[in-house]
């Protein structure tokens, strides 16, 4: 197939959007009723737009993909995505795992099931990071670029967020989608950054600074606080480098040993949200093996339930215990390890929050509404930290 020109691409995208609108009243999510489950989809991959035949119904995400607003369905969606992945199971080694090219030139390429993003109405930044990390892992393990499905059906808000995050670089179609991007009112997301240790700390700090300046129209809203942010990030990244991917741990899914980081600035409320995610062994698994375990073991035992109702029921207790460890290891909450440093800044600014998900557990420290922790039956597949820093009042600059 020839590489499409920009004009050709634009015309086809416009036509596909109009076709989708016409069919939406007669079709259910574009699925043909002639064959059970089987239907055509439009795929974008490495600069090509190809119509393919999907043999199965798509794996549908919840309409609200957010760990705060809809934690159970969101966690379950990502856990199912990992469990069903033939790439993570090691299937089709050396072959394109995304679709099969048939021997007949008349038949379309065939693919198995896929995740349909067309159903997503709200996508949180944290969910976008986890999704990007999952696709990045699949791309790295399979050595084939992932494909995106029915891009023309994605909501504008979801598309804009993933575009700003640089999700499309992961799937190799940045040039094709550039024309579809329009900046969202009041919000701006940083291009996602990934690394294995603090070698990328300088770039991470610069991108966050740049985001705040650009989103505010040129004002240096962070000022000296950029030091506190960079310091906390350096500790959080060191935690990943040292503890997240132990060589002797039996991982359920293969990993690529990385962390992913992004940030979003919301001009309407002056909130800078930093998200960092890893696909590591998780805090509940690694904490008992760290030097600080002897200092926090009792605290974790006090918080944990003696009659856990499901596998991850006490994971929240481990997360809360790890925060106490960051404080006790230095005796000063401002100088504790990464998580404790983040909490320390929230308390110092008297605004903001830190939210941590690790395996099935969560812990949230919100300056306004207080602290709470708990757990869900599904794992987030690693550790996710969301750090909300109130940079200024609403609609400043």
């Amino acid at each position: 197939m020839k590489r499409p020109t920009a004009t050709w691409t634009k015309w086809h995208l416009s036509r596909a959007k109009n076709e989708a609108k016409r069919r939406s009243t007669r079709w259910h999510h574009g699925v043909s009723t002639r064959r059970s489950g089987g239907h055509f989809v439009t795929t974008w991959t490495s600069g090509e737009i190809i119509k393919m035949w999907s043999t199965r119904e798509p794996h549908l995400p919840p309409s609200v993909l957010c760990f705060s607003k809809n934690p159970i369905e969101t966690l379950d969606f990502f856990a199912t995505m990992r469990r069903r992945s033939h790439i993570l199971k090691g299937m089709f080694p050396g072959k394109n795992p995304w679709y099969q090219v048939p021997k007949s030139v008349k038949a379309p390429p065939r693919m198995r099931s896929y995740q349909s993003f067309a159903e997503i109405e709200y996508l949180s930044t944290a969910s976008a990071v986890v999704m990007t990390a999952e696709y990045a892992r699949l791309a790295e393990i399979s050595k084939f670029p992932p494909i995106t499905i029915d891009l023309h059906k994605w909501s504008d808000v979801v598309f804009a967020k993933l575009y700003e995050l640089d999700f499309f670089s992961v799937v190799g179609i940045t040039e094709t989608v550039a024309d579809l991007y329009a900046e969202r009112d009041g919000k701006r997301t940083m291009r996602i950054l990934s690394g294995t240790n603090n070698a990328e700390l300088a770039e991470a700090t610069r991108r966050i600074q740049h985001l705040a300046v650009e989103a505010s129209g040129g004002a240096d809203l962070l000022g000296g606080r950029v030091e506190l942010i960079s310091t906390a990030l350096s500790e959080a990244i060191s935690n990943v480098a040292r503890h997240a991917y132990p060589a002797d741990h039996d991982f359920q899914f293969p990993h690529v040993g990385r962390w992913w980081l992004t940030a979003e600035f919301d001009r309407s409320n002056g909130m800078l949200t930093i998200v960092i995610y890893d696909q590591g062994a998780t805090i509940p698994v690694t904490l008992p093996y760290q030097d600080i375990w002897s200092k926090v073991k009792l605290k974790v035992a006090q918080l944990a339930s003696s009659d856990p109702k499901f596998d991850f029921a006490n994971d929240g207790a481990y997360i809360e215990g790890s925060l106490k460890a960051g404080v006790t290891s230095t005796g000063d909450s401002h100088r504790g390890k990464g998580l404790a440093e983040m909490v320390g800044l929230i308390d110092e600014l008297k605004a903001g929050y830190v939210s941590i998900f690790s395996r099935g557990g969560y812990y949230r420290h919100d300056y306004t509404s207080g602290k709470n922790s708990g757990a869900y039956p599904s794992s987030i597949g690693g550790t996710l930290i969301e750090w909300g820093i109130q940079v200024h009042g609403a609609n400043h600059g």
């Binding site: 240790n197 603090n198 070698a199 700390l201 300088a202 700090t205 000296g224 950029v226 030091e227 506190l228 960079s230 310091t231 990030l233 350096s234 500790e235 990244i237 060191s238 480098a241 040292r242 230095t330 000063d332 401002h334 100088r335 504790g336 390890k337 440093e341």
Partner: protein, 107 residues
Amino acid sequence: MTLQVADRFSRYPAGRDQNDGPFNGTAFRTVHLVPALNEAKKSGRKLNVSFEGVISYGSSFLEEAFGGLVRIERFKKSDLRKTLTITNTSPYSDRYERAIWRYIDNA
């Protein structure tokens, strides 16, 4: 005698050793800090470690770099008190300086 961390090493030092990244506490201590302290001692001068321009002050880096002077390099705490000074223009300079001396005292 002054050792400028940002100019000679990095504006974003972080972590303890190579596993944490290239600009780690062990590298700073062994390549820059210990030689500078030895030279200062030899010439009878004080060593001023300046953090001007540094952005990241991770506790792992500071403890490994400065606590490591006592813990690993076997410098005496009393000698460091006489030879070493810390300067910074950061709005948070006091807390970083306190932390460094705490790591030296607790090593």
